[in-house]
């Protein structure tokens, strides 16, 4: 809970910390979080399910977040998205059957002049073309 000086409104920082630790937020944790913060289970469930970032199942070993927003579309993002789905053999928003890679949409990484962009295991990658996509696919196959 580093960085939270003020004791109020700590649910999001706590959920981030849990996800950083375990990779996802297990439904079994929800009653404990609720009790610790004196909230109802429904409140905590509501927050976990509202935000796109919070996972209720583990992600793949590698996570590729591919930008789908307008600026990346203007730079060929749609074609790269189709190629990524084909190359990785996994649909957008899902994890491969072998648990190796999760492919997710993201709406803007703030790299809008150098798209198409992705965040690969937290590392930003710009100007994705066929060759760079091949390298990314090889990287996550390892």
């Amino acid at each position: 809970m580093a960085g939270v000086a003020d004791g109020r409104g700590v649910l999001l920082p706590l959920l981030h910390a849990l996800q950083d630790e375990f990779g996802y937020i297990d439904d079994a944790l929800v009653p404990h979080v609720a009790e610790a913060l004196n909230l109802s289970r429904a409140d905590v469930h509501g927050v976990v399910t509202f935000y796109h970032d919070f996972r209720r199942q583990p992600a793949g070993r590698h996570v590729i977040k591919l930008c789908r927003a307008e600026s990346c579309q203007a730079r060929g993002g749609r074609a790269i998205e189709r190629a990524a789905v084909e190359r990785l053999g996994v649909a957008m928003g899902s994890t491969s059957a072998d648990g190796r890679v999760t492919l997710e949409p993201v709406y803007c990484l703030g790299l809008c002049a150098t798209g198409p962009n992705a965040l690969v295991d937290g590392v930003p990658v710009s100007r994705i073309d066929g060759a760079r996509l091949d390298r990314l696919a090889a990287q996550v196959a390892a």
Binding site: P13, H16, Y51
Partner: protein, 487 residues
Amino acid sequence: MASVALGADDVAEAFARTGAEVIRTGSHGLFRIEPLAEVDTADGRIAYGPVAPDEVGAVLDGSHANRLGRLADLPFFASQQRFTFARCGVIDPLDLDDYAAHGGWVGLAAARALSPAAVVATVKDSGLRGRGGAGFPTGIKWQTVLDTQAAEKFIVCNADEGDSGTFADRMLMEGDPYCLIEGMAIAAHAVGAAHGYVYIRSEYPFAVATMREAIVRSAARIAPFTLEVRVGAGAYVCGEETALLDSIEGKRGQVRAKPPLPAIAGLFGKPTVINNVLSLAAVPFILANGPAAYAAVGFGRSRGTMPIQLAGNVRNGGLYEVGFGITLGELVDEIGGGTESGRPVRAVQVGGPLGAYFPPSMFHLPFDYESFTTAGGLIGHAGITVFDDSVDMAKMARFAMEFCAVESCGKCTPCRIGSTRGVETVDRIIAGDRIDDNIEILRDLCDTMKFGSLCALGGFTPYPVLSALDHFPEDFGGATALPVAAE
């Protein structure tokens, strides 16, 4: 983050291996030349870019082909008025001495020598309006918080920069974090707040890390004011100020009905200044140089400078800070250099996913709040996304509705249901199903969303949809359907 995404880490490592002293700065804001390296010489800082890791030797001996000379001499930089971004790319972002040596903390010292009311008056006199999109006068917002009696008040910085085509907040937080911190400390003095929050979207991990470290290092400078970072969790709607407040409170990021205004009952029910990064970061300049120096630049009722972001399919993509009043065409064709693909510009979207699409026939528009409102659009956070002639505007209209459906907080029906119906209706138009009837339904739906939604997400999604319909009707089946019917 942009230069790192283009390989700057490897270049920095290659320089370090040569024994050179390497200082990592933020970006100057011209991404065509990233990764960029500048070498300190007797003639000033000489820039080279883009630079690959195996080319660092050529940079050090001055033989590299991409020698740009002094950046300030390049037309892209020489024609700017950098009030807010003066230090970005120049200083070591976390070095307090470097910040002070480049004019840092002068504004805060000036503010603390004044009464709170005098600081608010200074901001009012500068003409500063909210740079996050709505353009509300910043000084009036601060006045309301100052005038509201309460035991506790807050300063909240909205750093949930979710609009596609915008990256100025990210660049400033990564490249000159103390500028934002100084602006927040000035706001705190002006209204009597003791604590503040910077709410940063999770998609900006580097900005989060830089701001956290900068807050630790500058704590003594801004005391007794204290600050902390809160991180979003991938919800676009949390860029709306009341949804953002709910998110900091640990709730679902749902929009609140106004009134009450956040200035009267905001975070935890207390009077709250909530401003965008660029609004707060403009304040140190205003206090250091006086309101007249800021107000002297601009156009009409839009005073001062705007950090404009050129994005999408554009040759000179990047950040361009200039006074209001420059035309859209100057920005896209001259500063931006047209498309990167070399094909003709067909459409530019101004103001993010909720902004209108404009054709080149409207490039005479001056860049200011009123002109864009009159033209059926908005400047928003000043992102300009350029598309070449391969764009299908019906698909972009569909995307606008789809984005609204994905990101709707769900609180109001026009936004939640209307956006899903919107996707279905555009799909029917694209499929050629009763095109005229469905266009009428789509326009009616946009009308309902515009006037019935609680916030800008549902309320402004009609801008991209209707502007696509109005300016690019040929993409909605009409033009091609007619000749077929005539056969």
